[in-house]
């Protein structure tokens, strides 16, 4: 008992004040890209050739955040002449096409599906489905339950049964072997329900794009309401997306 109290005192209160107060991530963190649209097309081409994800659109001078793993390879070309990554982690979008960006994203809080805010703004219960992938997305979603993020204080929880859930949070590129289980889980969630695609895998196949063993695009199976880019998304990216999309 003494040890429990002594540990409790030593640990103190650790929960972040975000979103009431901003939070600054370390300078090496790669968040929302800043794109120089005046960049020499030859350099853009060089970035596109280096990109392992084929995420750079040369003509449009845009990056597809739904494909990008934020590896930072392009930012090392000519010291970031075409692209640099900011520390802005707020990158969730309601529409797939908005992820193809020249450096700015629409305000997620003003998305078109406002009825979700009325339905789930005070309580949101999600069922997580890991449909392939590498478990990094799952790990950094799990982390939202730790004292630093403490997701429950916002009325958002991950639940054990799809019957108790308002929606599903999907990670992974949807392997052929998980397709049936994913669809069964989706079916088991009562209407009205939401679908969240987390990480570049369920958006575009992520690092596995082109594999014959995956479906790659979650939206081709079930309608996606919220996209959270990253490889994996930083826990704060997920937290921001959930709060902006569902809270008033």
């Amino acid at each position: 008992m003494f040890k429990i109290i002594s540990n409790r005192l030593a640990q103190g209160y650790r929960t972040t004040k975000y979103p009431k107060e901003p939070i600054q991530l370390y300078s090496r963190f790669r968040g929302l890209p800043e794109i120089n649209t005046d960049c020499d097309p030859a350099l853009v081409k060089q970035c596109a050739d280096l990109c392992p994800q084929a995420a750079i659109l040369v003509e449009e001078k845009k990056i597809d955040l739904g494909r990008c793993t934020f590896c930072g390879e392009c930012a090392r070309v000519a010291e970031g002449a075409f692209v640099r990554f900011s520390q802005n982690f707020e990158m969730g979008t309601a529409r797939r096409e908005d992820l193809i960006t020249a450096g700015s994203l629409p305000d997620l809080a003003t998305h078109a599906k406002a009825h979700f805010k009325k339905l789930f703004g005070r309580s949101l219960q999600l069922r997580q489905v890991s449909a392939g992938g590498c478990n990094a997305c799952e790990a950094d979603t799990n982390v939202l339950g730790t004292p630093f993020f403490d997701l429950s204080r916002f009325g958002i929880d991950f639940v054990a049964s799809p019957r108790h859930a308002d929606g599903i949070h999907v990670t992974g590129p949807i392997t052929r072997n998980m397709k049936a289980a994913l669809l069964a889980t989706y079916e088991a969630v009562p209407e009205p329900k939401v679908v969240i695609a987390s990480g570049c895998c369920p958006i575009s196949g992520g690092p596995f794009h082109g594999s014959s063993e995956i479906i790659a695009d979650l939206n081709s199976l079930i309608p996606v309401d919220l996209y959270i880019p990253g490889c994996p998304p930083h826990p704060l990216t997920t937290l921001h997306a959930l709060l902006a999309f569902f809270k008033k």
Binding site: T146, P147, N177, A181, F208
Partner: protein
Amino acid sequence: MDKLLQISNGEVVPRQRIPQVDFARFFRILTDFVANNGYIVHFFAYIDDGRSKLLAVVRNSNLFILGTEVNGEFPSLTLTIGTKFHLFEREIAEQYGIRPAGHPWLKMVRYHANATGRPDVFGNEYRVDIPGKYDFFQVQGEGIHEVAVGPVHAGIIEPGHFRFQCAGEEVLNLEIQLGYQHRGIERMLTTVPQNRLPVICEAIAGDTTIGHNLCCCQAIEALAGLKVVAGARTARTIALELERIANHIGDLGALSGDVAFNPPAAYFGRIRGEFLNLLLVLCGNRFGKGLIRPGGITQALTGEQRDIIQAKILELRPEIEHVCDLLFSAHTVLARFEYTGTVGRKVADELGLVGYCGRASGLEYDVREFFPTECYADLPPNANKVTNGDVYSRAMVRSEEIMHSLTLIEMLLKRPEQPHRPVVMAENHLAPESLVVTLNEGWRGEVSHCLLTDADGGIARYKVKDPSFHNWTGLAMALRNQEISDFPLCNKSFNLSYCGFDL
């Protein structure tokens, strides 16, 4: 024995030097080797000029290779030599349609069609989604009941199916069926351009990003003749140790949560995040994605990052000791940890367990000590005091390794700063007709990649092995005659990778 070719970790071996013997000889040599403290690192099939070949990479205190040719079928080594071969043989059957005749439990591993167009060994029809046509091991009798769990679980975890045969609360047999995360990684690695290799290897198992990508990059470096400077080696070693610490701390917290002792679960959950954030300080990603590329690292380890890591370790070490003391001295915790899920040394040895699962059962194998890469040849090895093979031992080994890893990082940070330039991904010319095997002690144990190149320097075969491939059977054995309610605890004490297994 004389035919085995000794190789070293990360050495480029011309393919014509791979000793090729007839199957009878292959069988005899491996029988002898495995009977004398020999273990399997890889055992896989590949196609060489239209012919099916098998390659075994085996280890005792040294590393050896041996090859043979087969023709659609070979007598099962599992049947006569032992269980160390059983999953490898099932994998060969699934990947290449080659039947290990007489295999005692010949069942698919990951559920996918083979690469050769041979008829499927298991009679599965892969156009049909999982579940396919396969039986589970069943216990018959009055009062025997079966419990099926997964693939979708009641938490934020990866998919897998567990089938328990129970008499009341007692588990008589657990069969673990994986494959749900199969992404076709090995085949992809032979077809994609080189700049995708590290990104894919970082996603074999996200919690082993550094371990797997290090194996990949060391292999490319060997085949392309790239030199890695000392400063980059230091950073890569620190990254591998940070990955180990973060995962072990997370698991100690989760183990505590599984026995409903919440304070350490909360504290370790938070402290794990601190270490992930140190990986972010190194490279901008909490899992170390994007840090290591062939030839070095992408962002230099400068004084600024060294100071941040040093200060954090100074702050966190006493906290970790404090919480460990709370966890390991609580009698409610000890009552659940001790004598639960025991895998004795004999069983661990027969299965060839690796990493902390092996060390907790008394198998003193650590790649960092046996086949050192990066900076490990100059660093002191770890030793484990509690090796009874139960949940308590696996937890204690983790706590000992955390402290050891903290010391290693501090030693590395004391070295004078060695300047090194960041590397940019480039297309490298790889040595043609060559073989390379790389091993690293990832946080779960022996991670190993084996590459075979063709006449043009293209990658003809890329074999990946996560330590989980050895250890899942250990979990199944740990559950024998345990109460089914202890499954989550046993499972967490092993904490194996589903995606690393499924590839």
